[in-house]
Symmetry: C2
Subunit: 415 residues, 2 copies
């Protein structure tokens, strides 16, 4: 994409009411737009990042046998009454509205109830299980406060996976598979080194749920971390009994702030029983299915990457999720320089390498500053000087080193 | 995808309260699930169709210079008050809700207002125009009645494109480009022959808007059609003056039912003025931008295809949007037959051809009936008989002719 054509532009300042670093950077770089507190739209560069994260996650979900589908935002009150989660006193983040005939409807903050009700129609026998289904869905949560940028939103994109298993063992096996897949995902998006498998409260169904917590002072959670074991315990379940059970010692634990990127939990058979999800087993006996639920906050993940992988010049995107592989900067007023930059831009597009091309009439300083702010992995500069050697200047966003390479070298580096 | 693994299945009956043919077929074939009247979720096969339609539309939008982004469902009341479209007496399909602090919010039934407000931040000079932006967004509309299946929903997927132009001429030129792109899209999804450019009411801003109406008795619109000119007039503007203006004669027009798949309209500069979208022109003079708005109902398009291209056996998907290219049916109880079917399934996957594989233990009759109901373009049968000749039986869903071909022939036909 030529920056002269891109309808967004960078700006020096973020809105005065925006206090979160991730949102400040993403707004200044033209990735997101603030609609209201906790509600952000995704501009072209931001949407690319979101789609790239979805691609990474989708591949892992398909590998473990997940089938993608898409539920609705509008939800029926009756379903949530069956599990006692309709009442605003029980779930305090509902957005609700009404049909013209005054029937109350809920706006999706989660999907366990409608998905379990839907899957009921396809599950009769043990032969129909296990079933693993997932979606990328907009979630609406009526948070009282929303001051963490896209790390805690009133509207956000989530990947939610649900497993329906015949037995507790079958469920546990899949739960472990998902755990590995999640760690793979956080590796691929550049957060593997600072993301920890964390024991958290299991709620009414099991002793523990598990979270994937990424270290950042901007996080809203406090965890107790054992770095060498790559394990942590959420403050909410941090006590002597739990430490003993997990064979962890107080003196080996570090108290740190973290942001929850993913969480996985077991519902046991309770939800199936509340919502009438039964199957007939090998012996002809009626059984209730074991339900697991596995979330990743897709837009939150983008926010955490912006928060922790950025520097004082701007964003620093990992290659897998960057909105483009490189930015070409044309520094020449001369026609030959522009011609060479145009040709490189076209060659890279032909090779299927996504690049930004700063073809605007701005100073070198302004172009360099914007390239750093936008933060794609590579910068390719062409000027009168580099053209004389028939080369380009190649620099990684995350490094200071500059090298001179020809077109072939650029293509090889970016592919 | 192996049908033995797919969590959905076909069914003989649709829900008793489902009167629309498109939804009956799509539910029976396992493409969609009814959450409530006018609210449907997309199961794996249905989501594939939706994504394929999006791909066709996205390519055309990118070709005309559109930049994809994504707005939010939650919307600010103030923006819609500025254009006098907040009041339920003015717009009677709002879903509304409230933040915890009692601030009213709207749920997106359209996006002109928030998009125009957003783009204001990036438009200052004539150099920033024209701008063409589009999204695929969930729309919520509180319809009183919703009895047309996915052809009229309370929640549905729409592609909406917006153009901001410097002058009326620049706007008109783009309007014509979009018209051609829309006709291309309807061609590619198999509806080109029965979709007509239609003059409709322009509302407060222009004399006419334009619709793309597809002939079907299930449609909610009545249009007057001139087949030879490939033009129609919506009943709402059908009168002697309009006919004269469009050089159409009553005796050449046919009164027919149709479904509106797309509509395009001009807002002039009114909305820019209401929402303070100004730019400075070449002469340093302040001007308001000319706004155009261009929609395609993505899920409605799927519904119309299901409605008009189906037959008494089930769905008939055009190749471009089918959930798979073919379905392989294994009719052999013998191991060799299954082995050959497995091998074909793997070869096709290696070639990047998406196929369904009916590997279930069912009768030939049940498998044929399901293949017809699901309606992918090709059916490939392998049995003891075909295996003896080292061949497969290939048949188009839309034809009765069967031919015997080898693996190479199957790959060539499906690629």
């Amino acid at each position: 994409m030529r920056l002269s054509k891109l309808f967004t532009s960078t700006s020096k300042d973020a809105p005065a009411d925006e206090t979160a670093k991730n949102a400040q950077l993403l707004i200044r770089a033209g990735f997101i737009h603030k609609e209201m507190a906790g509600v952000y739209s995704y501009l072209p560069l931001g949407l690319k990042v979101i789609e790239n994260i979805k691609t990474v996650v989708r591949e892992e979900m398909n590998k473990l046998g997940g089938q993608e589908f898409l539920m609705t935002s509008l939800q029926r009150k009756e379903l949530w009454e069956k599990t006692d989660r309709w009442d605003d006193k029980k779930v305090d983040i509902w957005f609700k509205s009404k049909l013209q005939n005054d029937t109350e409807v809920g706006l999706a903050w989660s999907h366990e109830e409608p998905i379990t009700d839907m899957i009921r129609e396809f599950i009769a026998s043990y032969r129909d299980l296990p079933a693993y289904v997932y979606q990328f869905q907009n979630k609406l949560r009526n948070e009282v406060r929303a001051k963490s940028g896209i790390m805690r939103c009133r509207e956000f994109l989530m990947k939610d996976l649900y497993s329906y298993s015949k037995t507790e063992q079958e469920h546990q096996k899949f739960y472990d598979v998902v755990t590995k897949a999640y760690l793979n995902i956080f590796d691929q998006v550049g957060l593997g080194d600072i993301t920890y498998f964390t024991f958290a409260s299991g709620g009414a169904f099991t002793q523990f749920s598990h979270e994937f917590q990424t270290l950042t002072d901007a996080g809203e959670d406090t965890i107790y971390l054992n770095r060498s074991k790559k394990l942590a315990v959420n403050e909410e379940v941090y006590n002597d009994d739990v430490l003993k059970q997990l064979d962890l010692k107080k003196e080996d634990l570090e108290k740190v702030k973290a942001a929850e990127l993913g969480n996985i939990f077991s519902f046991g058979t309770t939800k199936s029983e509340q919502l009438d999800l039964y199957f007939v087993d090998e012996k002809g006996k009626k059984q209730s299915a074991v339900l697991g639920s596995y979330g990743i906050g897709i837009s939150r993940l983008m926010g955490v990457v912006a928060e922790v992988l950025s520097d004082d010049k701007g964003l620093v995107w990992p290659e897998n999720i960057a909105p483009a592989k490189a930015i070409i900067i044309n520094l020449g007023a001369e026609q030959e320089v522009t011609k060479a930059a145009d040709e490189l831009y076209e060659s890279l597009q032909t090779e299927g390498i996504e690049v930004l091309y700063d073809d605007r009439e701005l100073s070198a300083g302004e172009k360099f500053a914007d390239a750093d702010l936008i933060g794609v992995p590579y910068r390719v500069v062409i000027s009168n000087k580099t053209l004389k050697e028939d080369k380009f200047e190649l620099k990684k966003r995350s490094s200071q080193d500059v090298e001179l390479v020809d077109t072939r070298g650029i293509i090889d580096a970016l592919r």
